[in-house]
Amino acid sequence: MRASSKIARPTVSIAAFALVASACAGVGGGGAEEGELVWALGGSEAQPGGVHQDVAALWSEQNPDTPITIDVLPESADEQRQQQSLELNAEGAGFDVLGLDVIWTGEYSDNGWLESLEDIRGEIEDVSLDAAFESAQWGGELWAAPYNSNAGFLYYRTDLVDEPPTTWEELKEIGLQVGEEEGIAPFVAQGAQYEGLVVNYLEYFWGAGGDLLSEDESEVLFAEGDAAMTALEFMVESNQDGFFAPGFNTMMEEEARNEFQSGNAVFMRNWPYVYDLANNEEESAVAGDFDIAPLPTFTGEGTTSALGGYNNAVSAFSENTEAAKEFVLWAATDPEVHRMMAEAALPPTLEATYDELADDPVMSLLGEVLPESRPRPPAPNYNSISVEMQQNIFPAYNGDQDPQAAIDAIRDYLEGTLDN
């Protein structure tokens, strides 16, 4: 202890020096040069050769004064959010344009990380898909410009099933029967404890006529009616009677895709990206033997899907706000950009693109499904809501928790978050 008091003074001065030195280094690095824009975006299409790179190149060609480069973020959405929030939390000017998952809008705008896009609202609203546009708003204000979208499909084996079922009950019956005859699993989807489970659950829930919140986001409707229970009980029973494939509760997108394209499942719920991969003769055992359809509901009427995708937002700490705004507007409204994305099987948000590409099976189904798809609430604490739902739905459908208790817990949590 005596020793420590004696070295205290040099410690402090050297520590102070070290801090000053690192602070200087911080000021020197980061920050785009004037005129140049940086677009923080993740996923495989942001990699060299991906369609987002082509979009960036197209903009840079047309706007040589304000060229844009992509700062490639990691593959998983959670890690992308982590990278962006590190920069934004430090009020860093390193990113001008942010590729925003549709569920981050509320959190980012609440943190004061985004420029409002109200002044270009009119130009965007008229041409974008409604659900995508809705996901870019929070608190009645526009914070991002729609860019690409996503929705769930029902994949089914055309060599085993004649017509795609329109209700979940029917799908289950056919799945169990055909699965038993063929010795394969009836249904694969996303059942692990993560965001994908919430997406899948909400699709059952909305398909049973449920609503999470009232229109103006002031009231929790989750446990009103029996939709929450219908959806959860369907999952509990499916897990018990073998409708859900073995290992369903450790499955994410890729595990489900592998099972389906190895010919081990009759039905699958997955995103559009699977279509091309599962039709690849070299890698898929079911190439040409499957088709896509809208997800069923419990009533047999219509379809519903959770909306995915990315919007582009302008960072509040950007030193080049005007150019960044022009870019996100252009990326939301330029037909060429959206045609390029459609060709890369990335669902565009520009409505007109779907009429143009009605011959393409994926695009035509998306044109049918996307107007019916619904955004998860892009609330500031969406992540906490999602984790709470995961932690109740997962044990409940695995038989480790009472379904009613799980639903009550989720309702209480949602009500608690609205009170704050």
């Binding site: 020793a3 410690t11 929030s85 404890q193 290992g247 509760n249 450790t250 604490n381 992540n383 984790v387």
Partner: protein, 319 residues
């Protein structure tokens, strides 16, 4: 030596005395010099190790809404943490994991070490091969064991089927609370037993052969030689290995995170900390949890060191 004397005379203010006093003064200045030499490393330690710990403890006293600080909350975050059943189930899993995995690693590691200490053909190759699991990065090992245990492709199940256990075709190791924690423990034992073996082997090689020779002369059989010679002389190495592994296991994050994402009762305290710092940000609660983790790890470490400190010191003097 000349430098020592010089430093002594410049630093010392007391008048020169007799020979004894001079020697004492010289000793004092040596000590001072040692402090000066140690200062840079103490400083580095303070910046690298102590600063984050103290900073986390300070953060844990504040309340947050999202990432925004909304005020001073005293011990409120600790109360939230300690009354949350999720915290206690994380504590339960962390201790379950620590005790079972360290026990498994110790027994298997000791077996390997004794084997590798024998002279036999191919000993060099065996030593190298045994270390393979340990050099694989944990995240990759975890992903590998996820594939092995998962229903698809289901390698572990195929092995069980091949040796005649029916009914394992679709056994869901990672998808039920009764087996998921064991799968994680198994992966950790597989990965880290070689490390324990390495530490124990180093200890075994410091035991002189003459001791065994005199044991044989006295008529001790193999078990007696192991129990009365090997184990007592290996004790310091065992303690070091156990200390390292226990402290490490208490902080486990990567294996359960990759293999189960914390589902089915495999959420460790470190996973919980990460959840509250990154996934659903509440830096105050996250810091309170990480401070609690620090206190737990530190006290377990201190218990080890204080119970066994004497042996550690004696061991190092003998070695």
């Amino acid at each position: 030596m000349a430098t020592d004397t010089n430093t002594g005379s410049t630093l010392s203010t007391s008048p020169a005395g007799g020979d004894g006093q001079k020697a004492k003064r010289k000793q004092m200045s040596d000590r001072r010099l040692a402090k000066v030499f140690m200062a840079p490393s103490m400083l580095t330690m303070a910046i690298v190790a102590l600063f984050p710990v103290i900073y986390a403890a300070i953060l844990s006293l504040y309340l947050y809404s999202g990432r925004e600080q909304i005020g001073f909350g005293g011990l409120q975050n600790f109360e939230t943490a300690l009354t949350n059943p999720r915290f206690w189930s994380a504590i339960w899993f962390t201790f379950f994991f620590t005790i079972t995995s360290v026990a498994g690693e110790f027994l298997i590691g000791l077996g390997f070490a004794l084997l590798m200490n024998q002279a036999f053909v191919g000993r060099g190759v065996t030593r190298a091969v045994i270390l393979v699991p340990w050099v694989i990065p944990t995240v990759i090992a975890a992903q590998m064991w996820f594939f092995m245990f998962n229903v698809t492709p289901g390698f572990v199940n195929s092995v069980f089927m091949a040796i005649g256990f029916d009914g394992f075709e679709n056994f869901n190791w990672l998808g039920q609370a009764s087996t998921a924690p064991w799968a994680v423990v198994f992966a950790d034992v597989w990965k880290t037993a070689p490390f324990v073996a390495l530490l124990l082997l180093a200890g075994l090689q410091t035991i002189p052969g003459e001791v065994y020779e005199s044991g044989r002369v006295d008529g001790a059989n193999a078990f007696q030689r192991f129990w009365n010679i090997t184990l007592p002389l290996l004790k310091p190495a065992i303690l070091v290995a156990l200390l390292f592994r226990t402290v490490d296991a208490l902080r486990v994050f990567d294996l359960p995170q990759v293999m189960t994402q914390g589902a089915f009762g495999t959420e460790s305290v470190s996973i919980l900390v990460q959840r509250f710092i990154i996934q659903t940000p509440d830096p105050g609660l996250g810091s309170a949890l990480s401070t609690l983790t620090f206190i737990i790890v530190l006290s377990v470490g201190l218990i080890f060191v204080s119970l066994l400190g004497k042996d550690l010191v004696i061991g190092s003097e003998e070695g």
